[in-house]
Amino acid sequence: MALQGEEKSAQPAALCDNRSERARELAAQGKKIIGYLCGFVPPELITAAGMVPYRITGVMGEPLVEALDYFEPNACNYVLNCFQQAIKGRYDFLDGIVIPHACDTVQRLYGLWKFWKPPAYAHFLNVPTTVSPASIRFFREELEMLKESLESFGGVEITDQRLKEALSLHNENRRLVAELYGMRKEHPPALTGGEMTRLLVAGAGIPADEFHSLLKEMLRSIGGNAGSVDEKKARVLLYGCVMDDAGLVDLIEAGGGSVVLDDTCIGTRSFGTAGDAGDDPMEALCRMYFADFLCPKVVRSCDEERFEYLVQMAREYRVKGVIGYFMAWCDPHKFDQPVLRNYLEKAGLPFLALEDDYTLSSSGAMQNRVQAFLEMLQQKD
């Protein structure tokens, strides 16, 4: 019998709330745990090396204190928060870190983490700023260097066969995630945005095979049941950078919205494209984690049509409006914001931009704005 309501989301929610617990257990058993940040790092390479990829997150809402002894406050508070966890020893279970050149702040995080809390293993993955045949080749060489360094650290050879197996496992997870996303095209959706967020955050902290089981269990528990979300709720797409906490999604859903789709780093941006390993698994990783990975850090073109994919996604999921979550001091996303707004509004998609410092501390004011926006969407019918 399929589980209902709170039951189906209890396990992901528990894993999300105590997301390092499983990684700590595995570390105690002698498994090597490699922390990584952002969507440019392929966890497949870590899995293929016999280690556990663990997505580094912050603790949303925790005041910045210790981090400010090392970092300026006028930098992405999410990155500072992650560093604060490291300084406080909360990432001491990690054997190593892989940090990409995802933005100015993340780039500096690598140096400062390595300087002040040197892990046994640290690797920097450089990421080009434009997409071209040369930059794809450059990124592939970066991946080759990451592979070599993981082999050296782990004392294993990452053969093509091992990599294909890892890719296949992660692809299967991507396929199951896509299936779950697909269930949210219906109205009411089969699972809430909060449930989906917790599931993805939980999955980014456990081995890929365990995430696979979790996804299967979630699909089994939903079965053919229709969702229980209030049918009157306005369907929205949540756009933004990193979303490693369900707080904002809960706030929107409590306020009369239903987050049926996202374009965020731990959401569709990381699960949107499954790679066909074919004969060349590194080429597949290169495509998934760079050429097709739509992070605003990479300048693809100056045409506003670069946001057309969002409009298409919104139509597919019958979304009425878009809520954007922008982190204070985030250059890559904030430079895009006005052009994005214009493009969405021209396409008939109202847009609400929320700014935050990774605390949701102004959630009262935020809630009022969200509610007003959702009421406006509901009146559009």
Partner: protein
């Protein structure tokens, strides 16, 4: 309005050569305006685009980053930034970029160069040339105002360097980076060939790169001379030299300018001519200056403190023995060697600019520095981010007092005059009595 605040002052410079920059700047802006009037293309460029290559293509250029400094100095930046903010660009984004965005908005609104635009304004560009060095806003800002207003061809030259802990002696690593960076420079050349309809003259480019290296060597020698006590040339003079240093690189005029500066500074050292009659304290300035209030350096001088050295803008040791017969490869090689210098000094913050804590430590020792002022520039994360780390390292290794001033490079709304001057006064009291005081 902030523009009307009486506390903002232009700097009174010490050297005659630095004072001559005003005319150079005016001529330089006039040149691109004339080109536009005569129907020739003008490119808007971001620092990091090699001026040597633009020169060889005889392409006139305007630099929104520099225009941000010009608008700030003439108290016009707030006007443009407010227009950008009205368009939805956040006040925490780079103030140079916000200034350029507001300028574009006003240009479109009135159908031409705004009549009160500083330096006669920037002519509407035929193309954009940007790059990815140092910070994200270089590429993202240009993408934004091109998408929003300009809609002209754009090339982003993506130059990459290895990060903290990399072995810069590893030939495989070097080949990986240089192959990519050379491709990117050739990409710029192909873009310019297409836009201008002319072919690259490699011999002319070799000559331009040689000029660039000569100017950088002279600038370096000026920095060496600045170790003298009393200080012969303060930071405000060096900051005023950014036009010949950054934008006129590759020209004979830039070499002549730095030769003149070098001769003047050497003469001042030989004759013990200091910035002020009685130099009590020597300051190291870390970060970009507040262009809207360069008079702050004169304020320091009024209290007996001279900013004797700074960490921003071309403080690399000169690069020598580069094969200039293949100038594109030479440009990439020069970039690599500069990054290698950063790695030598400690690249935990960045490999692309000299924000290295090791550089700050080196300068404190070599320039007999009594106190370090960190200018925390709110809208420039790339330069400011890591200053706390640097100060922490400094505290651990040298007993030199440190002051953090918080404002911006082009946004005067961030400036609190009484607070900043109060901080400076208290800081100099500590410098006067502290362990870092010179014998």
């Amino acid at each position: 309005m902030s523009e009307e605040k009486s506390e903002f002052r232009k700097a009174v410079r010490s050297t005659e050569t630095a004072r001559s920059v005003n005319q150079i700047l005016m001529d330089w802006y006039s040149k691109s305006l004339l080109a536009s009037k005569e129907g020739r293309p003008v490119a808007w460029c971001m620092v990091g685009a090699p001026p040597e290559i633009l020169k060889v293509f005889d392409l006139d250029s305007s630099w929104p980053e520099n225009y941000g400094t010009a608008c700030a100095a003439r108290q016009m930046a707030v006007h443009y930034m407010q227009l950008a903010e009205g368009e939805g660009y956040s006040p925490d984004l780079c103030s140079y970029e916000r200034n350029a965005i507001g300028y574009c908005r006003e240009y479109l609104d009135i159908g031409g160069i705004p009549p009160d635009a500083p330096q006669g304004g920037m002519p509407w560009p035929a193309m954009l040339i940007t790059n990815s060095t140092v910070c994200d806003p270089r590429s993202k800002g240009f993408q934004a105002f091109n998408a929003h207003y300009l809609h002209v061809p754009m090339y982003t030259m993506d130059i990459q360097m290895p990060h903290y802990g990399a072995d810069m002696q590893d030939p495989k690593l070097k080949a990986h980076y240089l192959r990519y960076n050379i491709d990117q420079i050739w990409g710029l050349i192909r873009f310019l060939e297409e836009q201008t309809g002319t072919k690259l003259n490699e011999a002319a480019l070799s000559e331009a790169v040689a000029n660039s290296l000569a100017a950088q060597r002279l600038m370096w020698e000026v920095h060496e001379l600045r170790k003298a006590v009393p200080s012969p040339m303060p930071s405000e003079d060096q900051f005023s030299c950014i036009v010949p240093m950054l934008y006129m690189a590759g020209s004979r005029e830039a070499v002549d300018f730095f030769q003149k500066l070098h001769d003047e500074v050497r003469n001042r050292v030989e004759n013990r001519i200091g910035v002020i009659p009685e130099e009590k304290y020597r300051i190291l300035w870390v970060g970009i200056p507040p262009w809207f209030n360069m008079g702050i350096f004169n304020y320091l001088e009024s209290l007996g403190a001279v900013s004797a050295m700074e960490t921003t803008y071309y403080v690399h040791a000169p690069v020598a023995d580069v094969d200039l017969s293949r100038p594109v490869e030479a440009i990439a090689e020069i970039g690599w060697r500069k990054a290698s210098q950063v790695h030598t000094l400690g690249a935990e913050l960045s490999t692309e600019g000299l924000f290295s804590p090791g550089l700050v430590l080196k300068f404190v020792r070599e320039y007999a520095i009594d106190g370090v002022i960190f200018h925390r520039v709110l809208s420039c994360r790339a330069i400011s981010f890591g200053q706390a780390h640097t100060a922490r390292r400094l505290r651990e290794e040298l007993p030199v007092p440190v002051l953090f001033l918080e404002s911006d490079m082009a946004d005067p709304r961030t400036w609190s005059d009484s607070r900043i001057k109060g901080s400076i006064s208290a800081f100099l009291d500590i410098v006067d009595t502290g362990a870092g005081k010179r014998a």
